[in-house]
Symmetry: C2
Subunit: 283 residues, 2 copies
């Protein structure tokens, strides 16, 4: 039979494709990957009602340790759906699952959908002009990695925009409780645009290579893209560090060279009185 | 009322999202943009049957000259759908339509979907590692532009992959017939992977800046991505220039630095006896 890896898109249960829905409804087992993204506040129960089938949450532990037994093995004689928010091949997170399934002779079929990498085009920036995508991890007291910094710098030197994907911490072990012998998890955390902006400011201040200017480079905060409450705000990093974009998920774009047609759209949601100026744009 | 700009995805009529289908069915006018892409051989009639509504083909002339009257004006008091293969904001082609509609007070809503820029991840390459996207135009006798070349070079120097979108010529005027006073159009042309590879070889031979090596840099030919007959072939440009990938649409990827997990997938469709070698990969 087939292991279907089905993209759910970004907004709610109705963002699945017609073909995807037909497939999911025909499956014997349905798993929902729930540690790299979230489907705009839609609970598992609403999905189950929409599909008319039970849905099993697949967290990181299950995907990394038990996927062979729980997901791939059943796909040998039954149809199994593995649901992923966005597009399933947008990140290589699930490449391993697909490869392992094929290795044991299970047919795998991917159903594509919209991803944040495509929806980012909503802000008016030309997707063709984006360079490599970076991830911004939550800084910790003694761990403040800036591996994203040289990538942003390289993109900007080439005039390209950079999409920054912001950290998500779901089902992180609570080490304090664990030391007391209890298995406990911390509440989920989603990095906000303002936190990302603060970290990017710190990265520029400690690195001092002028990959971007925290007071004049245009950046765009994105929140809940593809959902009804989608929000976009453009401004400098200093400005965005003061903005509350509301509920997760958030992402952030650091602009490269901005074209007039791009700015035509962006200016609609530029912070009033922003210190960014299209005229003085660094080339 | 609302102008809905709805992505159709890549494969066939069932790749529209559930929400997208509900919207299209509720609209009074439905236009299908038909000059930047094609929906895998699905004729307009099949869409009309699926939607239960008539669909009007919008060619380039209509979009550029008559969109105000034919598309935007009706959206002032009726719901109008403008259908786009892939994702509507993947290219800025339709930004102008969206801006013009908003200018006259028409509400615009975008329904996202999968695009070639996301589906390219199917070949196993990490989408995060793609740099700017380039377009390869059909070379003509006296017009052989290589503006894509420095972009590919910059991407590769930074270790990034490059997605090359290949030219499409739909409803091109037949100047010979026109000189005889007849309005006639040439049959549609879609650039194949082999033609793109030939042009990229020529660009390297005339420019000689070693942006890529035509006999050792790994490239991936993509055909009909997201469709049932989807096909991927990996090899050098010299090798891909000899490969027939079948029906359109085609795209081509020029790899940057290849990671082991990426190659795990790519090697499944590497041309037998290819002169590419993972061991000798230029870093």
């Amino acid at each position: 039979m087939v292991l279907y890896v089905v993209g759910l898109g970004l907004g709610n249960e109705k963002d699945i494709t017609v073909r995807g829905l037909e497939i999911v409804k025909s499956c014997d087992h349905i798993f929902l990957e729930a540690y790299t993204s979230i489907l705009g506040g839609v609970p598992k129960e609403r999905l189950e009602e929409f599909y008319g089938k039970p849905v099993t949450i697949a967290d990181r532990g299950m995907c990394e340790n038990d996927a062979d037994d729980l997901i791939i093995e059943p796909a040998k004689d039954k149809n199994v759906s593995f649901l992923v928010v966005g597009d399933p091949v947008c990140a290589t997170t699930h490449t391993d699952l697909i490869l392992r399934a094929r290795e044991v002779g299970v047919k795998v079929e991917v159903v594509h959908n919209a991803s944040i990498m495509g929806a980012a085009g909503s802000c008016g920036l030309q997707l063709y002009n984006f360079g490599q995508t970076v991830s911004i991890p939550f800084f910790r007291e003694n761990w403040r990695p800036t591996s994203f910094y040289p990538k942003i710098k390289y993109n900007r030197l080439g005039g390209m925009h950079t999409l920054c994907l912001l950290d998500i911490k779901v089902k992180e072990p609570d080490f304090d409780a664990m030391m007391k012998g209890k298995t406990k998890f911390l509440p989920p955390r989603f990095m906000s645009v303002s936190t990302a902006a603060e970290q990017l400011i710190e990265a520029e201040e400690t690195t001092e290579e002028e990959a971007y200017n925290v007071e004049s480079t245009l950046c765009i905060g994105l929140a809940r893209m593809g959902q009804e409450t989608q929000k976009m705000v453009a401004g400098t990093l200093k400005e965005l560090s003061q903005v509350d974009m509301g509920e997760p998920l958030h992402s952030l774009i650091i602009c490269g060279e901005l074209h007039d047609l791009e700015f035509e759209v962006v200016k609609e949601f530029l912070i009033e009185g922003s210190s960014f100026s299209m005229e003085k744009q660094e080339s």
